[in-house]
């Protein structure tokens, strides 16, 4: 299931189709769906790098997402910086925020990082609600020139970039070190792997992804209600996507995100908020019984049915 020569060809074809798609078949509704899909993929890749490969569970990605969103909003719309500067800046703002909790927490073992990120996100959410009780709008000048296509291509380009970056990291020594730490941190430490350095690198990747996703969301939405920036949904949905797709694989976040968006589309129409309950139940089910997710489980099913010779897990 992992990237080889064939994988590159398939990915190339998928990307080419996605580039041509809006010019030919795309309707406004499907384009909106795809923008949300790209945002989910970027977030899921971030979580997967940190949680799936690095073994550090983040329960507060909403904090990095929110700060990226606000940075983009104020840099691009209020300060008037060009989008290609504001977007990386929103990624960097996520990294800066993550350092506050990451530098002390990643040096410690155990739960501190997970609950620290959770506390960070929750404290920011409540404080933001106290301080800015208003909806953010993009300036009217921007509304007149708003095109969905530019949002679509920005999301696509960023998602492809993140997918590529994740591939390069995982295939490099850094990825190897991260996997070693996840599987047995004491053994890795003994062999001279700098635990803190690699955990922190994974956190940088994660928070950069979250900040970028926040930036794209700010670019995409014309109005942002005050509960949106730090909503726990930005932590939970990518987590579900990564876990359901297959945590600790390169394709998992993509497959999980596609699955999630399809599920949302199918259920949100006639179940209202009920689809969120289905997400929660599905997520718990996967965590308890199918830790490999779709990517990890499918080869086993295939093997059981006699299609594939051997399951490989990256």
């Amino acid at each position: 299931m992992e990237y080889g020569g064939k994988g590159f060809v398939v990915s190339g074809i998928v990307v080419a189709v996605l580039i041509v798609f809006p010019l030919t078949l795309g309707t406004e509704h499907t384009l909106n769906l795809f923008v949300m899909l790209f945002i989910t993929i970027i977030l899921a890749h971030g979580w997967n790098m940190l949680g799936g490969y690095g073994g550090q569970i983040s329960l507060g990605n909403a904090a990095f997402f929110g700060v990226g969103l606000l940075s983009f909003h104020f840099l691009a719309w209020n300060a008037g910086l060009p989008v290609y500067i504001a977007l990386p800046a929103s990624g960097v703002s996520g990294v800066v925020l993550a350092s506050f909790i990451g530098i002390p927490a990643l040096r410690l073992k155990g739960i501190y990082f997970a609950i620290g990120t959770l506390a960070l996100a929750e404290a920011l959410r409540i404080t933001y609600g106290n301080l800015f009780p208003a909806t953010l709008y993009i300036p009217t000048v921007q509304i007149t020139t708003y095109t969905l296509l530019s949002r679509y291509y920005m999301g696509l380009a960023t998602a492809v970039f993140i997918q590529g970056a994740a591939y390069c990291i995982i295939k490099s020594k850094i990825g190897l070190a991260m996997k070693a730490i996840r599987d047995d941190d004491e053994a890795a430490d003994t062999l001279g792997v700098n635990l803190f350095k690699y955990k922190f690198l994974a956190l940088v990747f994660n928070s950069f992804c979250c900040g970028l996703a926040g930036g794209i969301y700010a670019y995409y939405q014309t109005s942002i209600y005050l509960t949106v920036p730090f909503s726990p949904q930005w932590t939970f949905e990518p987590l579900v996507a990564a876990a359901v797709g297959g945590a600790g694989t390169l394709l998992g976040p993509v497959i999980g995100s596609v699955f999630l968006i399809i599920l949302t589309e199918t259920f949100a129409l006639y179940l209202g908020k009920g689809y969120l309950i289905i997400f929660g139940a599905l997520f718990i089910f996967v965590v308890l019984f199918f830790p490999g997710g779709l990517v990890g489980t499918w080869p086993r099913v295939g093997m059981f049915l006699g299609f594939r010779r051997r399951a490989t897990k990256d």
């Binding site: 002390p104 410690l108 929750e122 409540i126 209202g272 929660g280 139940a281 308890l288």
Partner: protein
């Protein structure tokens, strides 16, 4: 200032109640059940409906709430968390957090569907009544009841854990699961009862939340934040320290609200949290 301290103590007693179940389960079973706040929310709603439909006084409805939450906790443990017990410790903690996160999602959204996201509170006849201890210090009666409740919970738990067979079994299991099992302690049953007990404790905190503050579907997530900070401040294991840490957080928040304003209340806890991390990591 005396007034701030008085309110700080009342808030702190509540934080202790909200954190105690979370802390006990984490200390003994190594499950970090972050859905603890959502259990608290269910407790709050149970007391709310008991008050509005059965006209039951909230403090008298505590046994009922505890019984319901006890059953819910037992069901959650049996259905979900018990599957994680075989895992090594690190993975067990990680996965219990993930399961808890999923549970928060399910319970909070289910509560929103069932009861809408309106903010509700229980207002019995004595709400707002105060006791003037001496000029300048007013103690709300509800607040006094909360402090009394916290003291009662501390002593009952202490008695339960040190003077009964169940408590002995719990302490033995916490020290060494395998050895306790070999000594003839039914570890599974002990875990089940203990997890259910922690849910019942969340129920008590839920009743307090509904009487003294309010209850709404996502209230659990906000109280969870306090419970987590208390957990980290207190370290693992001691009942008294959990309440001590609760008081510390309550007082720090009260004082900061007085000097900086209520908007930054949550930041206080966060800063305390990061300071503890910095101190431990050097």
């Amino acid at each position: 200032m005396a007034q701030i301290i008085a309110y700080g103590i009342i808030t702190g007693a509540f934080y202790g109640l909200a954190a105690i179940g979370l802390s006990l389960v984490f200390g003994v079973m190594r499950h970090l059940n972050i859905a603890h706040g959502s259990l608290l929310m269910v407790g709050g709603f149970t007391a709310y409906w008991a008050f509005n439909l059965l006209h039951l006084d909230p403090f008298l409805s505590i046994p009922l709430v505890m019984a319901i939450l006890f059953l819910l906790g037992a069901a959650l443990y049996k259905g979900l968390f018990s599957h994680l017990d075989k895992l090594p410790e690190g993975q067990k903690i990680d996965n219990s957090m993930l399961v808890g996160f999923g549970l928060i999602w399910i319970m909070d959204n289910l509560a929103t569907m069932l009861w809408t996201s309106d903010v509700r509170a229980i207002t019995p006849s004595y709400t707002g009544k105060v006791w003037h201890v001496f000029p300048g210090v007013r103690l709300p009666l509800v607040g006094l009841a909360i402090v009394a409740l916290a003291v009662l919970v501390i002593f009952s738990l202490h008695f339960l854990l040190t003077r009964t067979y169940f408590g002995k079994a719990v302490r033995a299991t916490a020290q060494d699961r395998e050895a306790a099992n070999l000594m003839g302690i039914n570890v599974e049953r002990t875990y089940l009862m203990f997890f259910a007990l922690s849910a019942a404790l969340a129920g008590i905190a839920g009743v307090v939340s509904a009487v003294n503050y309010s209850v709404y579907p996502t209230v659990g997530f906000e109280w969870l934040l306090k419970a987590i900070i208390v957990l980290v401040l207190a370290g693992v294991g001691r009942i008294g320290r959990v309440f001590g840490a609760g008081l510390l957080l309550g007082l720090a928040e009260g004082i900061s609200v007085y000097f900086v304003g209520p908007a930054y209340r949550e930041v206080v806890g966060l800063v305390m949290f990061i300071l503890v991390l910095l101190r431990r990591s050097t």
